[in-house]
Amino acid sequence: MIVEASAVRFDSISLDSGATLAPVDVAYETYGELNAAKSNAILILHAFSGDAHAAGISHETGKPGWWDNMIGPGKAFDTNKYFVICSNVLGGCRGATGPSSINAATGRPYAMSFPVITIADMVRLQKMLVDWFGIGRLLTVTGGSMGGMQALEWAVSYPDRVVSAIPIACTTRHSAQQIAFNEVGRQAIMADPDWNDGDYYGQKPPARGLAVARMVGHITFMSDDSMREKFGRRLRGKETFGFDFDVDFEVESYLRYRGSEFVNRFDANSYLYITKAMDYFDLTNGYGSLAAAFERVRARFLVISFTSDWLYPSYQSQEIVSALRARNCDVAYVELESNYGHDAFLVDVAEQTDLIRGFLASTFEKVP
């Protein structure tokens, strides 16, 4: 399945901060066919560093989408049956308006003049896209990590527009530990002299800072077990220690590779803005309590967490589920056994496929 990204431009978007962005672009991909009743649409919400290329082989890069193992003909999100949309988040650097976009008012990149955005702002832009498609109700909104937060935001902000939601490995609000890791990443970027107060476009980007930020991220995505299995204490291309500060261990090599590869595809300022949006995320904002926020909810839920995920631990998913059960909402929950830590939602495909396929089929059955 060769896929191509499209983009749509809207006149403006109002943000939680009070600022307005004009115009605003959003890149998206779609897979499968929208049925006549427009009742089979699924919105896939990507995680922090993802993009609109969720499935298929990119016409542009030749690479598979970030959730290609879950989306496609006969897969969990079966494109023979459903119409799947994925778009880049607001503030991103992969086709949505973000700090690296040209500010129409100045003719220069926004950089740090880009307004601070929230998860709710990202969802507002997605809703504009869904409206543009003429889709009244989405069969489901789903994603892992930051994508799960967006799914929760959708269910609360637009209760009449979603039939179901599948938040995976996520939370209703960032904990101190989650904020702390994000802050380390931001400080790494801002401490890089090449960051230059965010004004580096057309010049040397803060590659070292961004790479370190990504290295920290990758540690939090794995588990002690998965790192032991994957790297252990194995040395990289040598029999003995080098007695210097070049790469000795496999794990160092892996992190350096991941860090440097990330620099080629991600904008450092987007890193700052998107992590800030995640840290600000608190579903109780404006409602006072989770119970009050969920009072509006009408969607059916499938909540999934993973045993070895210490970045978004299961207790955070259980908080979502407890609050939904207290509202007597239709919520299924399972904690899947996995060694892969937070990465599990991208890796442990077999179990998630059975769950999601069954959940979607029974949800779709009941749609009028």
Partner: protein, 211 residues
């Protein structure tokens, strides 16, 4: 009464291979809200949803069973029924089912109270520890009884609170519950005579005293 009709009455219908499920399937009124505690892979809930149009929810502790239940489209929450009912609002369900699990809970009395807080009625099915085979097994062997119904060695049995038909009746009286219906089964037969001695499985439909 024809021979066939007599046969029908003597033998309890089975549902999904279980006679207690058949009883529960009969008790539950159509288009109601049902919570099944320890629902396994959700077979009973799926049957109730499809055949009685009930809004079905389940609680199950085993992740593997929860996965299979969700995969068949049933809404199941992975959790412990000893602790897990607190989140539900009061009187959220028409029926709360506890099938063959009461004897495995740590705090059966508390579980029963919680069932009747979140549900208007509770359906409790449990294996009868007062069955004559149990009594005979213990009397003759002098060891913790093992029968087809209780096949486990004492040290690996999930059953931690053994009870008999009489014991449940006593608890119901103590809790001032109304026993609306009671069924006693021996294999696929009804055991109406001397149930505490002859019933292998008992099914009670109970509710709270009103007023």
């Amino acid at each position: 009464m024809s021979a066939q009709a007599a046969k029908k009455q003597a033998f309890v219908r089975e549902l999904l291979g279980r006679s207690d499920y058949a009883i529960i399937g009969d008790i539950v009124e159509p288009d109601t809200k049902v919570l099944d505690l320890g629902c396994g892979e959700g077979e009973l809930l799926e049957w109730l949803a499809q055949n009685k149009g009930v809004e079905a929810r389940g609680v199950e502790i085993s992740s593997a069973k929860v996965q299979r239940a969700i995969a068949r489209g049933v809404t199941v929450y992975q959790g412990d029924i000893d602790e897990g009912l607190a989140d539900y609002p009061s009187q959220a369900f028409d029926y709360v089912i506890l099938s063959q699990t009461l004897q495995e809970t740590r705090h059966p009395r508390q579980v029963l109270r919680e069932m009747l807080r979140v549900g208007r009625r509770a359906i409790v099915a449990f294996p009868n520890f007062g069955h004559w085979r149990m009594r005979l097994s213990m009397l003759t062997s002098g060891c913790a009884p093992r029968t087809k119904l209780f096949p486990y060695e004492w040290y690996e049995s999930p059953n931690i609170h053994f009870l008999t038909v009489h014991d449940f009746e006593h608890l119901a009286a103590l809790e001032r519950l109304v026993v609306e219906r009671r069924y006693f089964l021996a294999g696929r037969r009804k055991a109406t005579l001397l149930p505490n001695l002859l019933a292998e499985v008992a099914v009670f439909l109970v509710s709270q005293t009103r007023g």
